[in-house]
């Protein structure tokens, strides 16, 4: 492969060009992250009138709390389900949309639509659909003989937040899968078809391997989404209940800070989350990316 070396006349120009990005990173990532680390070693009352340095006490209390471990397990299950379901559904839809010749634009537009709905709004819609008393879906399930009540049944509650979270992500994944599929040269598929490979075979041996960079990329994005951006959905639907069955890590961070006004404990959790995501991304890029064919 050929690499091209670009040189600038002024030594300052490259710095100037990356400066906006660096500034944004510093203001929106480095500064808040350092604040979180700083807060995590303090104990403060809500108003910030009394501050005490407590070292790692916030972390010790966190790791001694069995409910924190539960929240961790819940988050892993939740992320795996959301990532798996939303990617699988999106892939199936993308394959079908890829074959559609007439009205393709209309299908695509409709499938992308949910992505534009804010998570909190989506959460409220799901709340209404699945409300055990007045919800349409709950009513339909009742007709089918299943008594839906996510206020009491932890499995129902988990299903609710997984559906709500995955639903939105299907659109996003669909976009990437469709683009990925359309980038695969038709000649490859046609050649395979001439050789007698059926649609499934063509998909498994040609399309899927060529899609693997997309699959990998989406996996990272979806896991990060499930970890960090699903707060609104939990907040609007189950609020972590019943019991602690749907308390995910990011919801707990919010709850301890904004309902509990316990900034130290919440900051400690943010730091843990930060470490988890850094580790997750590192593992994914280090080990999984190597096996992906570009």
């Amino acid at each position: 492969m050929r690499t091209k070396n670009v040189t600038f006349k002024s030594p300052w120009l490259p710095y100037l060009l990356v400066a906006p990005q660096l500034l944004i990173t510093a203001v929106f990532f480095l500064w808040p992250a350092s604040q979180a680390i700083y807060q995590s070693v303090l104990r403060q009352d809500a108003f910030g009138l009394r501050t005490e340095f407590v070292g790692l006490a916030n972390f010790r209390r966190l790791f001694a709390d069995p409910l924190y471990f539960d929240a961790f397990v819940t988050t892993v299950v939740f992320s795996a389900l959301v990532t798996g379901i939303s990617m699988l559904a999106a892939l199936v839809l993308a394959i079908m949309a890829d074959r559609v010749l007439r009205g393709a634009l209309a299908y695509r537009t409709l499938l992308i639509w949910p992505y534009a709905v804010a998570p909190a709004v989506a959460g409220v819609l799901w709340w209404f659909l699945f409300n055990p008393t007045i919800g349409l879906v709950a009513y339909a399930l009742d007709v089918l003989g299943y008594e839906w009540n996510h206020f009491v049944d932890g499995t129902d509650a988990m299903a609710l937040i997984v559906i709500a979270a995955a639903w939105r992500q299907v659109s996003y994944n669909f976009l990437f899968f469709l683009a990925g599929l359309q980038a695969i040269p038709r000649s490859l598929i046609e050649a395979a078809a001439i050789d007698g490979a059926g649609p499934l075979r063509r998909f498994l041996t040609i399309q899927l391997p060529l899609l693997s960079p997309t699959v990998f990329f989406l996996m990272v994005v979806n896991v990060v989404y499930a970890f960090f951006e699903t707060f609104g959905i939990v907040h609007a639907t189950t609020r972590g209940g019943p019991g602690n069955d749907t308390v995910i890590l990011v919801y707990k961070v919010w709850r301890d800070a904004f309902e509990g006004l316990n900034l130290g404990a919440s900051a400690a959790q943010s730091v843990v989350l930060m470490v988890i995501v850094i580790a997750l991304t590192a593992i994914q890029f280090r080990f999984i990316e190597r096996r992906v064919e570009y």
């Binding site: 403060q44 809500a46 009394r50 008393t133 009540n149 206020f151 209940g241 709850r255 309902e259 006004l261």
Partner: protein, 435 residues
């Protein structure tokens, strides 16, 4: 805290100021009253602004109770706090502990040039927000109390009287079920209605040290109340026949009642407006059921709702304006109107009497249930209210543990003792952060 500054700026920009605003001293009032209640709040502020020309009260809606309180605290940390903020009752301990951030109402009123009498407020309301010495810390504004709402049509259909005791409630359930109607009872805000108020109603302690009024070293003891444990177990067991149906935290279970699915519903009297809008049947409200195993007669219920806290750090003359505004707000006319349109209880004796003179209770039978409950007896140490730090979180803990009970994962005894244990850990945390 750039965020809160931005929020402030956005909030200020959204409020149109009258032409003479610059001559007036502005009083910022952050509140959590949305919808119809918010309009009422605007009207109260406008009424005050018209009544004098030295001060301009600017009400700003900041979201729900939790959001409003968090916003005010963030603003305080950034030195941009409002003069007055509406804080819900469970935030009382947090606000109280913030010496230096808040200005106790009794102090501000004494310094200001207004005629004001703390005795005008109903004892059950006043005591919740006073120091053990009886000094009022924040101004009671919107107070409600849990009552039992009932579906009159359903009860009439099976020929049942309005229940007075928990045994009656279960007897009504039997009658309803004999008639083919499953769900008899549900409730919302379960920590408030089923634990805090159950215990006050039966004159039993929620925690040591006078329910936390006497000091931060308080401990929760609600798990030791045998009557409570037995009742909650009985309710959980009754799910099998469908007698009780759990409908979620806070007010999430409202549709269970308004759709006609459950015949009785225990929750705030402030749902009056919702009931009028949503219930397509005759409904009524009655006093909380008595548990005859635990007490022979009810004591008094405790309030929920919010009060107005004054934050420190403003000019001295501003507080004169706040004091005058508080005085206006407590006037019988303002209070009686607020009470009648919202279902919140009148917080002064004069307002209660005015509403009675105006014939409101005769026209709307049952609307005085909450106030009658609150003033049933002189409050005791157990029924004065509660003052626990981190109580917002403790309520979450109670919600979680009760849900374990409703799901059948725990017995009432296990759920309550786990709730008390986890709650006590939070109390200790609060104690060490505020010493």
């Amino acid at each position: 805290m750039t965020l809160s500054k931005l929020m402030m700026a956005a909030a200020l920009a959204g409020v149109a100021l009258p032409a003479n605003a610059q001559d007036r001293t502005e009083i910022q009032w952050w509140h959590a009253m949305g919808g119809a209640l918010g309009e009422k709040v605007e009207a109260i502020a406008a009424g005050f602004n018209e009544s004098q020309d030295a001060f301009q009260v600017v009400p700003v809606y900041k979201g729900n109770y939790t959001e409003t309180m968090t916003a005010a605290i963030a603003a305080f940390r950034a030195g941009e706090q409002p003069h007055v903020v509406q804080v819900f009752e469970v935030g009382t301990a947090t606000m109280m502990a913030a010496e230096g951030a808040v200005k106790p109402v009794h102090e501000m009123m004494a310094e200001a040039d207004v005629a004001w009498n703390a005795e005008a407020y109903l004892p059950a309301v006043r005591s919740y927000y006073s120091t053990p010495a009886g000094e009022l810390l924040s101004l009671p504004f919107n107070s409600s109390s849990p009552v039992m709402w009932y579906n009159k049509d359903l009860l009439d259909r099976v020929g049942a009287d309005v229940p007075r005791t928990w045994d009656d409630v279960f007897a009504v359930a039997d009658k309803l079920q004999a008639d083919g109607h499953e769900c008899a009872i549900s409730f919302g805000w379960q920590s408030w209605t089923m634990i805090e108020n159950y215990l006050a109603w039966h004159d039993q302690p929620i925690g040591t040290r006078e329910n936390g009024f006497a000091g931060f070293d308080t401990e929760l003891v609600f798990d030791e109340a045998e009557g409570l444990t037995a009742l909650l177990q009985r309710i959980a067991d009754s799910q099998e026949q469908g007698t009780f149906k759990y409908g979620g935290r806070r007010g999430d279970s409202l549709p269970l009642f308004t759709s006609g699915e459950c015949a009785m519903w225990i929750n705030s009297s402030a749902y009056y407006a919702d009931m009028q809008q949503q219930a397509e049947f005759a409904f009524g409200q009655t006093m909380l059921p008595l548990d005859t195993e635990t007490a022979e007669a009810p004591q008094n219920s405790i309030i929920g709702g919010a009060t107005l806290w004054v934050l420190s750090g403003h000019e001295g003359e501003d507080y004169q304006g706040v004091a005058e505004f508080f005085n206006h707000m407590s006037s019988p006319e303002v209070q009686a109107d607020w009470h009648q349109s919202t279902g919140y209880v009148p917080i002064t004796t004069a307002a209660y009497e005015l509403a009675r003179e105006q014939g409101f209770y005769e026209e709307n039978p049952g609307t005085d249930t909450a106030i009658r409950q609150l003033s049933l007896n002189e409050p005791t140490e157990n029924s004065r209210g509660l003052r626990f730090g981190n109580f917002v979180q403790i309520r979450d803990v109670i919600n979680e543990e009760l849900e374990e009970l409703w799901s059948g994962n725990k017995t009432a005894e296990e759920a309550l003792s786990a709730a008390a244990e986890r709650g006590n850990a939070l109390l200790r945390e609060f104690q060490s952060a505020n010493q």
